[in-house]
């Protein structure tokens, strides 16, 4: 006797009848609910932004005259070696901090996701500790570790007969120092992002791979990294945007000339240059022009982010 499976008749969904919108109150109330964000955004986001564009067109002394000079601030900026120096430093520090940070986070996330790791929660939480530490405290500790005369790092180098390195006063040294601070502060945050994404990968996939004879490295390379691709791109882009705006770390480690981050501006970043012009030299117009340039670069990178992430979604 053959059995036929007959699907049960599905109950028809209740008809969706939109309730008639009655009166202006109901029509406007949704806008009232979302208004607080947009009002705040307009006051603290949009207005300052627009105003910065406006100020950039002036020779603007905060406590004196303002003269309309059109695009002169921008022509001056493109011809200013200090601007390009700051741009180079920013890119260099960004590169030195992003690459090790993401690699470290990848490996750590892979390890923390391991099924047999004991005290996993403890380790997962503790990678976040640097992230919640104040950046000023971080800077003070690192400046002491890397100090030329009294630093622990140079003490260790001295033990193996290496002459003390003046990290702050050399370009490469100061970039490494700042990048180390950034890595230390952010790797835990990135690790948790990766870990969250990895948790979505079924453990069975790893087990199946192990049964098929894949070693730890192969599992890392062929399962962990590909499944993290979207979030890796996300972190690369966000850390690029963040790296372009790095300010506190160089300001705090510089000795002698804080706003220039060293005697020859060896670690002056774009935001530090902006601040130096605006508040050190009292040239609001020129400082704003640098801010506008920075804004444009960030928008371009955000656009790349958007394109990449939509492409990834399309791939699936």
């Amino acid at each position: 006797m053959a059995i036929t499976l007959v699907p049960a008749p599905r109950a028809a969904p209740p008809p969706l009848v939109p309730k008639a919108v009655r009166g202006w109150r109901e029509r406007l109330s949704p806008y009232a609910y979302i208004a607080p964000f947009f009002v705040l955004f307009a006051v603290f986001g949009l207005f300052p932004l627009a105003f910065t564009f406006y100020v950039a067109l002036f020779d603007w002394n905060p406590i004196g005259d303002r003269v309309f000079i059109g695009a002169d601030n921008f022509t001056r900026m493109f011809a200013d070696p200090r601007f390009w120096n700051a741009a180079r430093n920013t890119v260099s520090i960004w590169f030195l901090s992003t690459v090790p940070q993401l690699l470290l986070a990848l490996v750590l996330a892979h390890v923390l996701n391991h099924a047999r790791l004991r005290f996993a929660l403890f380790f997962r939480m503790s990678v976040l500790i640097p992230y919640v530490t104040s950046v000023a405290a971080t800077a003070i500790v690192f400046a002491q570790l890397f100090d030329r005369d009294y630093g622990m790092l140079n003490w260790v180098l001295g033990l193996v007969g290496v002459a003390p390195v003046d990290f702050v006063q050399s370009a490469v040294g100061s970039h490494v120092l700042i990048a180390t601070m950034v890595v230390w502060r952010w790797f835990g945050y990135t690790t948790l992002l990766y870990l969250a994404s990895l948790q979505a990968v079924p453990l069975a996939v790893y087990e199946a791979a192990a049964i098929d004879g894949a070693g730890p490295w192969q599992r890392f390379r062929h399962i962990t990294v590909p499944s993290l691709r979207p979030v890796i791109i996300f972190t690369v882009v966000t850390s690029t945007i963040g790296g372009l705006q790095i300010f506190t770390e160089p300001l705090l480690i510089a000795t002698g000339a804080p706003l220039t981050c060293g005697a020859v501006r060896q670690c002056q970043t774009l935001t530090l240059f902006l601040y130096e012009q605006g508040f050190g030299e009292f040239e609001f117009g020129y400082g704003s022009a640098v801010g506008v340039a920075l804004f444009v670069v960030v928008v371009v990178i955000a656009a790349i982010n958007y394109l990449l992430s939509t492409r990834i979604r399309a791939d699936r």
Binding site: Y275, E281, F295
Partner: protein
């Protein structure tokens, strides 16, 4: 990686603070019984405020120590551009010209009676706070005066004399100072002075008769042989290997001072307080000698009242009381800052004052002497920027391996970029 918030905040602050018109609104409107006072840290204005509290218990002084002198000037700029201004603010001499260029931001002290007091102060010090139409923006609190503080114990260990007169004889000129440094280095293998930029160049360049501007207020920093000579002295000191390469006022500089990492440091009168607090364990181990190359001045500050101050009268009462010749003399007794009022230079309290921390050096006499025969020069709006670039260039040679042969040209190029 940092959030984008800081940029938005910075840009926002920039924009918001610029949004208001400076100088708008008249002053006054306060209770007249209290005033807010912004000073910089480490200059010990607190001692002066405490003394005023004793004299005028009915007035409440809210003292805020903002930070370094530069940070105080920056905070003042932001406040003038649209924030809440203090009733009274201390401005360091180097930061003053930028404010003197924009006198509309401050109360013209003549309206409060400054004309009667102007004659009390050193003429050339007073002149620096007078704007183009004669507005008096600030009254001077102190002047620098210059000298060199040296460690007698370290000098003795290096076989150098330790008595002030004998030490004076070691360095009549800056060249002799550098030669002494070489002798010290040879004998001990250690650094002689803290750094070349402030302890040599910055001292020498403050002894000129004409600095970065001519008397007719034209920029001459690039062709003034006096500036070039001071700069060359700085480079010579930087390359002679006699410095510790510690930038002034940094934590490592303070630590080095306490540990005897260097034996001599330039010491304008207000610096004595810094040495005392940085290296309290070295009491009695210091001597004070004359500055090589004769008289000069480094530093000094001014008290000013912003236009929108709520309690200008209470602030003015404070200035009048504490910056009078007698008030400055008392302040000298408390913290050792040299008065800017020449009428007390002969006063026994000043002339006979001795400082036990510095082996009973007659500090009052040394510093007033260093002001005699001083040839004042004009300090212009870009003087601070120009000076900083020269300092940076010498620091680059000293600490970052910069080429001494191109240091001067590098400095000039950087100055041209900076001042446009």
């Amino acid at each position: 990686m940092t959030h984008r918030l800081p940029l938005l905040l910075a840009v926002g602050a920039l924009a918001l603070s610029a949004a208001c018109t400076p100088g708008s609104g008249a002053g006054g409107g306060g209770d007249g019984k209290s005033f807010e006072f912004w000073s910089f840290a480490a200059i010990n204005q607190k001692a002066s405020v405490d003394a005023y509290r004793g004299k005028r218990p009915d007035v409440e002084v809210k003292l805020t120590e903002v930070g370094t002198s530069t940070e105080t000037a920056q905070a003042l700029t932001t406040a003038l551009a649209g924030g809440k201004v203090p009733d009274l603010v201390l401005i360091q001499g180097d930061n003053l010209p930028k404010f003197v260029q924009q006198p509309q931001n401050f109360v013209d002290l003549r309206t409060l009676g400054a004309d009667d007091l102007k004659g009390d102060y050193l003429d050339w010090v007073m002149k620096q706070s007078v704007a183009k139409d004669g507005e008096v923006l600030g009254l001077p609190t102190d002047v620098g005066g210059m000298a060199v503080a040296y460690r007698t114990d370290l000098f003795a260990a290096a076989g150098l004399p330790t008595e002030p007169d004998a030490v004076n004889a070691l360095w009549p000129t800056w060249d002799a100072f550098i030669e002494t440094g070489k002798r010290y280095k040879q004998a001990t293998g250690r650094a002689f002075t803290d750094n070349a930029a402030t302890s040599v160049f910055y001292q020498a360049v403050n002894q000129v008769s004409e600095k970065y501007y001519s008397d007719s207020r034209d920029l001459v920093y690039d062709r003034n042989p006096q500036v070039r000579a001071a700069f060359d002295l700085g480079v010579e000191a930087a390359t002679a290997g006699i410095t510790a390469g510690q930038s002034s006022f940094e934590p490592a500089w303070s630590a080095g001072m306490a540990q005897g990492q260097y034996a001599a440091v330039s010491a304008p009168s207000w610096m004595l307080n810094t040495i005392r607090s940085n290296a309290p364990d070295t009491s009695g181990k210091w001597g004070i000698a004359k500055i090589p190359g004769g008289s000069g001045n480094w530093g000094g500050s001014y008290l000013a009242i912003p236009k929108r101050a709520k309690n200008p009268q209470a602030a003015w009462d404070y200035i009048k009381e504490m910056q009078s010749p007698q008030g400055q003399l008392e302040h000298f007794g408390r913290v050792g800052a040299l008065p800017s009022t020449p009428s007390v230079y002969q006063d026994a309290k000043l002339v006979s004052s001795k400082d036990p921390f510095f082996s009973d050096a007659p500090t009052g006499k040394i510093y007033t002497d260093s002001l005699l025969g001083l040839k004042p020069f004009y300090i212009g709006p870009d003087s601070a920027t120009i000076g900083q670039e020269f300092l940076n260039s010498i620091t680059n040679v000293e600490q970052s391996g910069g080429d001494p042969a191109t240091a001067w040209d590098d400095a000039l190029r950087n100055i041209k970029t900076a001042i446009g």
